[in-house]
């Protein structure tokens, strides 16, 4: 093997403390070195030309460049190598600037180290194998999980770019939490009014295939080549026959057996129902757990009234498998429930607020429904317990959030704003009412946000008290709210008619399960982890899986929508080429000697390792070995160190190369 050594002066950056000509001279006599030189700026055009010429003239097979950090110019020199006809992975960089000339003063010492560094690079390059970039085909279809505003936005953006979208929502209708909201801060425009057109657009979009009342149960594959299995739960309604007339719901004899979860349990729903009138698709679902038919086979009222024969009691769950190229996860959030939590849960619940036993102590979403014109009280503010109009109302912020003793240390970000909104809505509807807000800090960062809160305080005369509430208890029909005004420095007791808790936003209970299904990491709460908190906020660490909305951390609507569009554009970028190219630094198994203990599979952070059967000539499996999916592997090499029989090698950093470097120390 003929190797060329090129020592860069980097102006004076290297040559000030490293005797570059001497390094080049000494290296000339190392085994395998055919050509050795030094130059002022190796990365400059003449420098690169020098490399190219030397390669061609001396028929070099590999080159070592002693220059700045490979993080700076590895790519430059690899490109120079390509232009000279050398495989780019037969280029090694000895870091003579950042890790030598800049950190040592003594010329002799630095020169000696430089020689040793070049020697190590030389020994590595001798063992380097030519590698070619890995190409992976891309299926240009995206799976969006979650049909809230994040999912809707992402789906529309990708679909409008011309790619197919599969949108999966676990509830019977898309819309998510946003459809439950009454009005939105800071503009107080009606939430449904801005959302519903979007929902319809999704439904009608030719590129979007909508799966409601469905769940993603399995995801296999890797970026560009995922395969997702979607379970469509049985609605017991034949979709294309239903006209959405609603007769079945009206006639269902079961009226008060199940709470309406869309109304946050403040109202009931029949056994056959759509969550809300504007549901998309407007097709009902039969709740098997309460429907009489599933108890004793009787009733069948809905069948009788449905003249389109859309009811099918025997319908079963169906599975769909779809090839997709990317995934956007937009599964959203739920609210911290103050009820007593089972032991082992990281959440503790609120004993001091009665663990949810008082009916008029409600959470923010319940208040949204009470305030909503389409809600159970038709927008009138009434107490759930007795329907009286509360004359004194207390809002408590940071219930769960920012309270490590309750299991959560983060700020839920939106509560300051919606509490101000709630208080404002209350004052607008109950003019003689008194509204109190207990807060820790007011975090109103956002366009028009601070102004909004000031308006609640100044124009609507909401009483903001800075302090925590220590206890709520019922006394003679009133809720005694005991707290502290930390500004006045004294205890406060409010005998309220109703209390609204701004509960923390937490991930859905099954968020970790979905994360494991897809293979993305999540934090201790169950929020999905982004690849980099600053520079890659909408990508998960698994290539091809993007995040949008509150499944990643608490977010308000504008943030969610922008994140959804960002995720969508990431997916569109991915789809803009037919094939993906990636660095060939991936691990590979020697199947002959792999013993199939699958410790590698256990340690692989990306699930890139699969089980492969090795068969004898008769087709009988006699051995299972590890197989590394090159599309998924990110080349960390954790498997190589874990492998006991050393059957895995990481291309570009294989063991022989590292041993050679050690030998040249």
């Amino acid at each position: 093997m003929k190797i060329g050594v090129f020592i860069c002066h980097c102006g004076e950056n290297i040559s000030r403390t490293v005797d570059c000509p001497k390094v080049a001279e000494v290296c000339r006599n190392f085994p395998g070195v055919e050509y050795s030189t030094n130059y002022k700026y190796m990365c400059s055009d003449p420098g690169q030309k020098l490399i190219k010429d030397a390669v061609l003239e001396n028929k070099l097979d590999a080159i070592v460049v002693g220059s700045c950090s490979p993080h700076m110019h590895e790519r430059t020199f690899r490109n120079a190598a390509i232009s000279a006809g050398i495989n780019p992975f037969l280029v090694e960089i000895a870091n003579l600037r950042e890790q030598c000339s800049w950190v040592h003063d003594d010329v002799e010492e630095a020169t000696q180290k430089a020689i040793e560094l070049v020697r190590m690079a030389l020994e590595k390059v001798k063992r380097d194998k030519p590698l070619t970039k890995i190409k992976v085909n891309v299926t240009k279809r995206i799976l969006v999980i979650g049909g809230g505003i994040a999912g809707i936005q992402a789906a529309l953006d990708v679909a409008n770019a011309g790619y197919e979208v599969i949108l999966v929502e676990k509830e019977p209708s898309i819309g998510g939490h946003m459809s439950q909201l009454s009005e939105t801060f800071p503009t107080l425009d009606c939430s449904q009014c801005i959302l519903t057109p979007r929902m319809v657009e999704v439904y009608q979009h030719p590129k979007i295939k909508l799966f409601t009342y469905s769940e993603v149960v399995k995801v296999e594959g890797f970026i560009g080549n995922f395969k997702a299995t979607i379970k469509k739960k049985a609605r017991h309604i034949i979709d294309d026959r239903c006209s959405g007339c609603g007769l079945c719901m009206e006639n269902c004899p079961i009226k008060k057996k199940a709470y309406n979860s869309f109304e946050e349990n403040l109202a009931f729903r029949p056994a056959i129902y759509t969550p809300f009138p504007q549901a998309v698709p407007n097709i009902p679902v039969i709740d098997e757990t309460i429907c009489t038919h599933y108890k004793n086979g009787k009733c069948g009222m809905c069948v009788k009234v449905c003249d389109r024969e859309a009811i099918d009691f025997d319908q079963e769950d169906t599975m769909f498998v779809a090839d997709i190229g990317a995934i956007i996860v937009a599964t959203g959030f739920k609210l911290y429930n103050i009820e007593k939590k089972s032991s082992g849960s990281i959440y503790k619940g609120y004993g001091e607020y009665g663990y949810g036993k008082y009916r008029d102590v409600i959470d923010g979403l319940q208040f949204e429904r009470i305030a909503s014109a389409s809600g159970p009280t038709s927008g009138e503010i009434k107490r759930p317990s007795d329907g009286k109009v509360p004359k004194k109302i207390v809002f408590i912020q940071c219930v769960g959030s920012r309270d490590e003793s309750k299991g959560i240390s983060y700020c839920s970000k939106i509560c300051c704003m919606y509490t101000a909104k709630h208080a404002m809505l209350y004052k607008h509807k109950v003019h003689d009412g008194e509204a109190y807000v207990f807060y820790m800090d007011i975090r109103a960062g956002g366009k028009m946000y601070e102004e909004f809160v000031r308006r609640a305080i100044e124009e609507d005369n909401v009483k903001y008290i800075r302090g925590r509430v220590s206890r709520i208890y019922e006394e003679k029909g009133k809720y005694i709210v005991k707290g502290e005004d930390t500004i006045a420095g004294m205890p406060v007791v409010v005998d309220a008619d109703m209390v609204v808790l701004a509960s923390a936003m937490i991930p859905h209970d099954n968020a970790p399960l979905l994360a494991r299904t897809i293979g993305i990491p999540y934090d201790k709460y169950g929020f999905y982890n982004e690849a980099h908190p600053k520079l890659r906020p909408v990508e998960s660490t698994t290539s091809g899986v993007f995040l949008a909305g509150a499944c990643q951390s608490p977010r308000d609507i504008p943030d969610t929508v922008s994140m959804a569009s960002a995720a969508a554009s990431k997916a569109i970028i991915l789809f803009s080429s037919d094939q993906l190219e990636r660095e060939p630094v991936v691990a590979k198994v020697n199947e002959d000697i792999c013993q199939g203990c699958f410790y590698c599979k256990k340690v692989c952070p990306f699930g890139a390792i699969e089980v492969k059967d090795i068969k004898d000539i008769n087709g009988i499996v006699f051995k299972e070995v590890a197989y590394i999916n090159q599309g998924v592997c990110k080349g960390c090499g954790t498997c190589t160190a874990t492998c006991l029989s050393k059957s895995i090698e990481l291309a570009g950093f294989n063991n022989e190369e590292i041993f050679a470097q050690i030998a040249a120390l």
């Binding site: 007593k340 609120y350 004993g351 001091e352 009665g354 663990y355 003793s405 206890r471 208890y473 019922e474 006394e475 005694i480």
Partner: protein
């Protein structure tokens, strides 16, 4: 099985009847209480506010003694003692340097395997079934408001045997003894505690609120497991009556006394006659012995 017993100062004075009833009840249930030899102050005096080292050293001295006597489970019936002891234990487990410091002060190694429990925990350790099995008398005339006070189920996360915000263990014991319990709001509220002597006015005010809420919710007896709470609730009622003539006097019993009554012991045996507010036996208990 024997349990270690750390009485604490009040058990020998203001809360004699607590000590008495505790010993009697457990004797009858068949469990020995082995009093800690040479026990000393637990440090729950003002020590923990004025001299932290001293308060730890006082508490842990007793733990050292328990270790030497081979005690693994030690009951501290006084909520203040209990709280002080477990807090000190927790502190040295979190801060090895404080452990070293205290060990130096005591010139002894502090054992790690002495578990301090309160009376409620003790009942749970022997099993509530034991109480119902030994029930001799019907207590269903008693509507008990179980009052925990501020120390018994705290500090949160150190004491894990019951919920720190909505405890229910005392209710379970009272019900096992055959009493009816009520749901009320003041079971953890402050009684005034150590202000008992210096600021009677505060104590009076706070304790009255507790008693009033119990009465409001239909209680006819308040149950406690803390000598200090008992003192404030029981002793201060006459003063309340003087200040608020409409005040309803309500007897305050220790949980051990309640269990003792259920087991057929009489008022005198249990020292209930030492209370300030008279416990009119007949009013609450129809003398009906269960076979």
């Amino acid at each position: 099985m024997n349990y270690g017993y750390f009485p604490g100062c009040s058990q020998t004075s203001s809360a004699k009847e607590y000590d008495l009833s505790l010993r009697k009840v457990f004797e009858k249930l068949g469990f020995g209480l082995e009093e800690l030899c040479d026990w000393s102050c637990c440090g729950a005096t003002s020590a923990h506010a004025t001299n932290h080292k001293l308060s730890n050293a006082l508490a842990l001295r007793n733990i050292v003694l328990a270790g030497k006597q081979g005690i693994k489970n030690m009951v501290a019936p006084c909520a203040a003692c209990y709280n002080r002891l477990i807090t000190s234990q927790h502190e040295i487990s979190m801060h090895p340097e404080r452990k070293n410091e205290t060990e130096e002060l005591l010139s002894e190694k502090i054992p790690a395997d002495v578990k301090v429990i309160n009376v409620l925990e003790l009942f749970f350790k022997i099993g509530l079934a034991k109480i119902s099995e030994n029930r001799k008398r019907d207590l269903n005339g008693i509507k008990a408001a179980c009052y925990y006070g501020c120390l018994l189920v705290r500090p949160m996360n150190i004491n894990n045997f019951d919920d720190a915000e909505q405890p229910t263990s005392m209710e379970m014991i009272a019900e096992a003894a055959g009493a009816t319990t009520i749901d009320w709001n003041y079971k953890l509220e402050c009684c005034g505690a150590a202000h008992s002597i210096v600021r009677k006015d505060i104590v009076l005010n706070l304790s009255k609120k507790i008693i009033d809420d119990a009465v409001l919710n239909g209680a006819n007896v308040i149950i406690t497991a803390c000598p200090m709470c008992h003192t404030n609730l029981d002793m201060r009622q006459r003063a309340m009556k003087r200040k608020y003539p409409e005040h309803l006097m309500i007897p305050v019993l220790y949980i051990t006394e309640l269990v003792g009554l259920a087991m057929g012991m009489n008022v005198k045996d249990l020292g209930i006659d030492l209370h300030y507010v008279n416990f009119n036996y007949d009013e609450y208990i129809a003398e009906k012995l269960i076979a």
